[in-house]
Point group: D2
Chain length 318, copies 4
Amino acid sequence: MIRAGIIGGAGYTGGELIRILINHPEVELAFVHSRSQAGLPVSELHPDLIGECQLKFTDVAQFDVEVLFLCMGHGESGKFLAENNLPDKMLVIDLSHDFRWAPGFTYGLPELQRETIAHSRRIANPGCFATAIQLGLLPLAKAQALQDEVHVHAITGSTGAGQSLTATSHYSWRHNNLSVYKPFQHQHLAEIGQSLLHLQPGFAHALNFIPLRGSFTRGIFASLYTYTEMSEPELIQLYQDYYQDHPFVFISPNNPDLKQVVNTNKAILYLEKHGDKVLIISLIDNLLKGASGQAVQNMNLALGLKETAGLGLKAMAF
Amino acid sequence: MIRAGIIGGAGYTGGELIRILINHPEVELAFVHSRSQAGLPVSELHPDLIGECQLKFTDVAQFDVEVLFLCMGHGESGKFLAENNLPDKMLVIDLSHDFRWAPGFTYGLPELQRETIAHSRRIANPGCFATAIQLGLLPLAKAQALQDEVHVHAITGSTGAGQSLTATSHYSWRHNNLSVYKPFQHQHLAEIGQSLLHLQPGFAHALNFIPLRGSFTRGIFASLYTYTEMSEPELIQLYQDYYQDHPFVFISPNNPDLKQVVNTNKAILYLEKHGDKVLIISLIDNLLKGASGQAVQNMNLALGLKETAGLGLKAMAF
Amino acid sequence: MIRAGIIGGAGYTGGELIRILINHPEVELAFVHSRSQAGLPVSELHPDLIGECQLKFTDVAQFDVEVLFLCMGHGESGKFLAENNLPDKMLVIDLSHDFRWAPGFTYGLPELQRETIAHSRRIANPGCFATAIQLGLLPLAKAQALQDEVHVHAITGSTGAGQSLTATSHYSWRHNNLSVYKPFQHQHLAEIGQSLLHLQPGFAHALNFIPLRGSFTRGIFASLYTYTEMSEPELIQLYQDYYQDHPFVFISPNNPDLKQVVNTNKAILYLEKHGDKVLIISLIDNLLKGASGQAVQNMNLALGLKETAGLGLKAMAF
Amino acid sequence: MIRAGIIGGAGYTGGELIRILINHPEVELAFVHSRSQAGLPVSELHPDLIGECQLKFTDVAQFDVEVLFLCMGHGESGKFLAENNLPDKMLVIDLSHDFRWAPGFTYGLPELQRETIAHSRRIANPGCFATAIQLGLLPLAKAQALQDEVHVHAITGSTGAGQSLTATSHYSWRHNNLSVYKPFQHQHLAEIGQSLLHLQPGFAHALNFIPLRGSFTRGIFASLYTYTEMSEPELIQLYQDYYQDHPFVFISPNNPDLKQVVNTNKAILYLEKHGDKVLIISLIDNLLKGASGQAVQNMNLALGLKETAGLGLKAMAF
């Protein structure tokens, strides 16, 4: 069994990682670190884990593991790595945005660069919006077929904002509500742009991105469109070819809905041509394919396990 | 026009009072007090009021008003009244639980004691659960017909817990969720018990009360049952007679649902006899009949206005 | 009192009209017609109306009214008018899309053509999406300032789809879900296009419209953006000037959220300039400003009443 | 691999069974029968299964399987068994209420009679409410300690009502709503009563049961209380002893919330003593421990597999 540790296990992505790893056939969860919760049984803070996890949170980071997941707040991973001299051969997967496309780290989007990930020991896990949007655009970029501005509108569940208590996470405010935030300037635009340039050097069109807060807890619903000269059958073929051997991305033959992916590591894509524009719908669960599920997918790749190990998750469906 | 002031206008009940009073045909809202928000336009904190309220929050309590609503946190009203020497003839309506059934204050449940309220200048507005439960029991108590334990299960919307940020008000936690709190010992049991004793002296049976947090923002759904020798027609007649001239309480001929009362000052009651037990369903909007709407109803009574003035609110319905 | 009748009062817009009209200071609701529910008390089908409406549904259409609202399904209004010879002087307000921009009918968007409406006796009430989107674009169109394609995403509550039972209106499916429908080809594009041409003749750019089904019951959240040479202050001034004397449209100084308008007849607009694009957020309640509230606003104008009469509705807020 | 078939795979419980069985390590799903959907790919009707299930619905019931799950509507299972002469040695698990506590069938509540189930070939899967309520009472009944009436309130998610379109399953109605149905007379009372009599012969007190429809899709939240002479520590010990070797039932040390069990096969129980009454909270996912998960648990037992095989489901948590 591969020994795994989690730094920052009290938050949403940390909890979700624990939920996955305790059922992972090849992994033993060695410790869960949390400064704020040290000493508390993990199943008391994440009470759905009752009967499934006997660990207590520890504030001693242990390094006798083969894989270490960093689930701290943005900015904290950098500090942690500066303060702790981790062995080079230890696999470190960082879920913050501190090291995305940074030197020394591999950007961990398997559908972009699975081979590179498989040989990396420092992996920066992509952002949730970034994952949904990139999966919707990678085939076009690889085909050098992004010819114009891209228009993106994406709605996220509340867990994307983490567990800190804020005005926009208050139930009485958020329930039945919708709001836009960071229009045209969401921080994930940077990593998306780098990935697109990676595949289509010289890509210089605008990526117009309107993010919204939705009244649900899990999921990202992204709808994208752009000008293209390709026909609908050509586009569908392009996407099917691109994702053919990627086990978590599916081209839906029918117009999909968000709950098809909730509680799974899947991404579902759907394409429709209207006039000279292609509409691309891209759906993920922000905590799974958008965070902790993708982190495990990256671990599987980097450790030579089956890419889908531990990720056969039953969809919520309803 | 009657001049009204609000102390503590930044919270949920304060905001709801403003929403009612700006449309009240006989009232002019003179000021809204808030220590924390002084100087801010009211419509910036309560942004649904855009275009409807030009006031700014003030931290100077003004006493040149005929009615003063206290919408502060529990415990704060007592302090405020101790520190401020309010004229006896000023109508003071306190929405906290500081003075419910306290000497010098009239317990402001119009369906219990409308005449007393009409002659009071110090009114303690009932709690939201307390209102729903009492309305379900008053006719039986008045008829000296509470013969046994009463079983109460009531589910509240999130606004009942106010706007402070807590773990149980976090959207990611509360959405789609349910939980019990303070079973058998909710603080509203005290005021309910006093009202029942007021009508049925010697009442000494248990009131078993299980309160729950529901995943909606507004409303209280209370279901009560108790042993009774009365038949269903007798019970319905008893309730219809009791509430006949009370303009906000209705005996529904059909099994009701919560949204019939949401965004209104109504209470809807429904009765069914099963074996030797009567089931009583009692529904209110916790912020209206359970708080700010009832406060305005009390004001109307105490100032000799029409009881329903300003309270013809359109139901949400959906 | 003005006598009003409703044809098709069993549906959502019919019910909402009843809720408004029973509290309207100048209107008496003379009858509510419904073929399917004839004989049933109105308050039994719309049970939130208990105690507020004593009418029963009738299947006899009566024409001794000054205003008649047609709330039937799309296609039914045409049939009704063909079969019934209504007096020319009777005000007829049709909520279906049968007569929008049709000869003999005035398109009833007061913010577009209030004067024309005031002199009309046949008014076609706009669609809900159409209202939200047009309000977001009218000032630009009037200024001949729509210079490029417009990009629109809009999310609607479930009541927009009416009360018929369909797979996408099933609670188990829709709750926590999102889906796109009729992308680039929603039927409201026609009426929007005609209004824009009315103000900016020759407008020939694409209006790209992605409609979504949201997991809430009431409201439309539309976000629009387009290229513009105007600065943010110029844009805000343009919109403030345009809507200055329109009592239901507000330019919010802050980024708004949907619940500010829910259960009101308001529209809230918000503008932000990003690079060379302006983002316009436009919010309405689909059943009120998007349907029955706007119908009453049109009635008020056509009958010379105050435009806001009966429409001072308390926001849901939470 | 054990070959399994499903009769009636187009509904909610059928779909959920498929989701579980495709990931079950010992089972091969041989066919999914549906008269209404014959010929359609299973993943088109249950679109979350995209990429996970290549079967098409068939209208030919095949009997070359070791286990057959009947997921038809109530009343249909009886007809099916009358029309089809199934081999005695085939394991048949019926999810309807046709055969609960019926002769020839074992009532499939593993926590009541695991040994009997292990030797049965005809199993009647319990109802969802019945499961939640029985799990809350079995230890008391076994200890002959049910001494008085039991008071039960239980709130169910919408999937409990199946996928047929009804007024109470319409999103616009159910969202944010609550309602009582079948108070004191829910059909599950029969099977609960028989189980209690099975453990505590002579039990003759009333089981007062108020079922409610909640505004969420998955889960049952049951709160029960009854008079008892036992102390809280004695009660907790009693429950811990009873469920010690039952892998899906947990006694929570803390007051639990519904989402701890959603999307799992767990039941979580919680006990608190107040005066002379014990409050018991019992939580399950109605589609899993309340239906399809329990069916698989029964299959595991009857086929000699590990009781938890295929049921290590990641909780939704949020």
